[in-house]
Amino acid sequence: MTTHPDPATRETPGGFPAAPAEPLAATVATQPGPVGPTRPVEPVRRPDQARPAPTGDWAHGLDTVSRATDTPGELQPYAELGLRDDEYDRILHILDRRPTQAELAMYSIMWSEHCSYKSSKVHLRQFSEKAPPSDRLLAGIGENAGVVQVSDELAVTFKVESHNHPSFVEPYQGAATGVGGIVRDILAMGARPVAVMDPLRFGAADHPDTARVLPGVVAGVGGYGNCLGLPNIGGEVVFDPCYQGNPLVNALCLGVLRVDRLQKKEATGPGNVVVLMGARTGRDGIGGVSVLASATFDEGSEQRRPSVQVGDPFMEKLLIEACLELYDAELVVGIQDLGGAGLTCALTETAASAGTGMRVWLERVPLREASMEPQEILASESQERMLLVVSPDKLEAVLKTAEKWGVWATAIGEVTAPSPDGQPGRLVVTWRDQLVVDVPPGSLVDDGPVYARPMREPADLILLQADRAETLPRPSNPEALRETVLRMIASPNLADKTWVTEQYDRYVLGNTVLAQPEDSGVIRIDEHTGLGVALSLDGNGRYARLDPYNGTKLALAEAYRNVAVTGAKPIAVTNCLNFGSPEDPGVMWQFAEAVRGLADGCLELGIPVTGGNVSFYNQTGAAAIHPTPVVGVLGVLDDVAERVSMGFVPRQAGEHDQLFLLGETHVELSGSEWAWVTHQHLGGIPPQVDLGRERQLADLLAEAARVGHVSSAHDLSDGGLAQSLIESCLRRGVGAQIAVPEQFADGSMPFVFLFSESAGRVLVSVLRGHEKAFTALCAERGVPWEIIGVTDQAGGALEVRGQFRIGLDELRAAHSATLPRLFGGSERAEPAQPTPAKQADAPVTDEAEPAAEPSAGPGDAGQPAGPDQR
């Protein structure tokens, strides 16, 4: 799948060139396909096998180009495929005849919202127009994923994508194939995938359908990623009733490549061979792109039950190794993954981006089901496939590599020259010598409709913003504050997410330096130099609902800060924009505001958007989800050994670190977790965001980490200071003593100090003897600071002087019981003793997580028979 559209428009044919110049001579030997000792597969279909009668409504035999020309008046079911009247007219105009069934399927897929970005394109241009200059960007918007150079030899590529609708229909496979899809995007850039992350959003935690969707999605993310051998290093798990009928399953993949291994998708070089590699093609997700991904859920969706794609992570693992071997041997000219729009997208995008044409013998595609129709083969969303462009003299070597890894590889076509008059080439597809597709590839990729849809601020927004949470009753005595602390850390959004994250392998590949619940995942990418990257993904639908422009900036600020606290320097941005229907002017306005906020924010921070994904139609009936822009920020650590963890560090008896709160705390409770948990309130204006200050803060944190002033650093966001303090305490079982600053001493102000969600704040612990140097550095960088207390290992508690003292055991019990209680696995409560930290400087993982006796959880027999996760 493509990323945000390339803002640069390519020249596309104005006229209608005649049929292509004699591409029909088969210079490409039909490949037997598979291969070797591991996959000695029989041919799927013999050439002499009778072709079964076509299915569906168009029972007129094969719909060829000549037949289409002869029957101009034949009715076409374009509306059922999601095309509008004017869009269909446009196809007639481009082709100067009616499309064949296969062509109609291709246009309907490529011109769907999902593939064409027809509603978002006009807004997404800002990401390029406002992009700050960057000399690191090797590939940006318009490519499969952005590629950022991080050293002389190495680059990283990363991208996040949505798989929301499929995951509601079939949680396990929807989530699994979401991971698989984004991994192939990264692979297509020439990179070895090295980590995944997954921001997940579900309906109310205690809703019965959440108990169906969440375990399936988590098992799917884990089942695929674990089997692929990719560490899962972070993400989000968020609950809100607005996602009840429309969960958000976003998946990110990070890849690493040598700069000179960067791959292109262009199908250059007429005469080059087009090879389909990977799994065989079946009826997976036929029509999924136009029907499934663009249709809103309604009452009927449970009955419709479209054909779900099933992932085979084992095949994907083999595909990864085979591709990487091909890159190393420099055997491919171009490569493109097959995503939501299958072969259609891969063929048209590779040809269109090179301006060439392509000749494809569709019957050569290895099929899982012999009865598949040409349009089904072109639309199939079967997973674990890549399209390669290979020079003929390298073909043998490519097939050998595929055979070694036991994956199918089949030459299905060849690249053809642009026409002599300078027009781009044409995509010509035959099915058993009959011409079924003859189109200008650019017309599918670049000439799709573009809409400047009507936008209007939602009518209820003024009232919503006027209903401020700052006016709600707040706890104003120590007992009430203590109770609030315990209730908040047990609330689903703030509770410990170990139930989810321990289903993911975070160790595989041996380069995970930090993983969840840390603020960012940190991966070492060079064992010799210690070079590494930090990644965080954040979004807050409530903030964006209240103010999409600033809400998106807040998401950017949080991800940026989460990267900065590890000591990394933020350098690039990706995004997944989850919204309701673009046909709703209110939603469209939210979207436009969010894009404007992100583009402006990136300009202010001086880091470019490198790519991303838009997911519209996230709604149930008329009710849209909260606008949910999820923003990913990537940072670089020159030496991962200098990374800073969020956990307070154990010290010898009598020793402690000083706790500093950086940034300013205001009375900002609107849109906060507290307002929602305590009052089910959503209203007011979200916290102010000042990206200039975020930048100063990030500079300070990087320098402090490099010099070694700080022993821990933790971002403040949902749940405010209280949440950060508790997480930092529980990470390694080190308590803290806190004194409320004078200006927060009275009435409900201690509560504000602990639960305000003001942005631009970080909790750091500073090593003894470094305080003076650290405060001098703060002054130099213009970052406000306040000493709020000390770490206290011996105390074994979090104490806020004059307010409360809560033992770490009690905090841990409250914090960690929620998800197991909601989603089973029915862990026996264990004494909450942290296991001994073996290495004082190895705070990577959940050392403080006691192992528990397992007991049989509820059966998950409803889960599909995917690969067993081991």
Binding site: D312, G862, P864, A865, P867
Partner: protein
């Protein structure tokens, strides 16, 4: 006492990676005449009273099979027949 046996299979159009992996391994055991393998689940249900096929179907539909991707069949077997199935 007869039992109800529920056989759950992936729908024919759904990819079965397990079956595929097994089929691909067979030639290594010298078996070359197998065209395809598909793997499913067999579930045996014993009722406290008379076996109830309707009830079993309901269980299969709600719990044992995932109708999005799986089909199931329900049938009655004698107890010893069940044992035979394993031999």
């Amino acid at each position: 006492m007869p039992r109800v046996v529920v056989d759950v299979m992936l729908k024919p159009e759904i990819l079965d990676p397990q079956g595929q992996a097994v089929a691909n391994a067979l030639p290594r055991l010298g078996v070359s005449d197998v065209a395809s393998v598909r793997i499913g689940r067999r579930i045996e249900i014993e009722f406290t009273g008379e076996p109830d096929l309707g009830r079993a179907r309901e269980i299969a539909d709600k719990l044992l099979a995932n109708p999005v991707i799986e089909d199931y069949t329900v049938r009655l077997v004698e107890a010893d027949e069940t044992a035979d199935a394993h031999s």
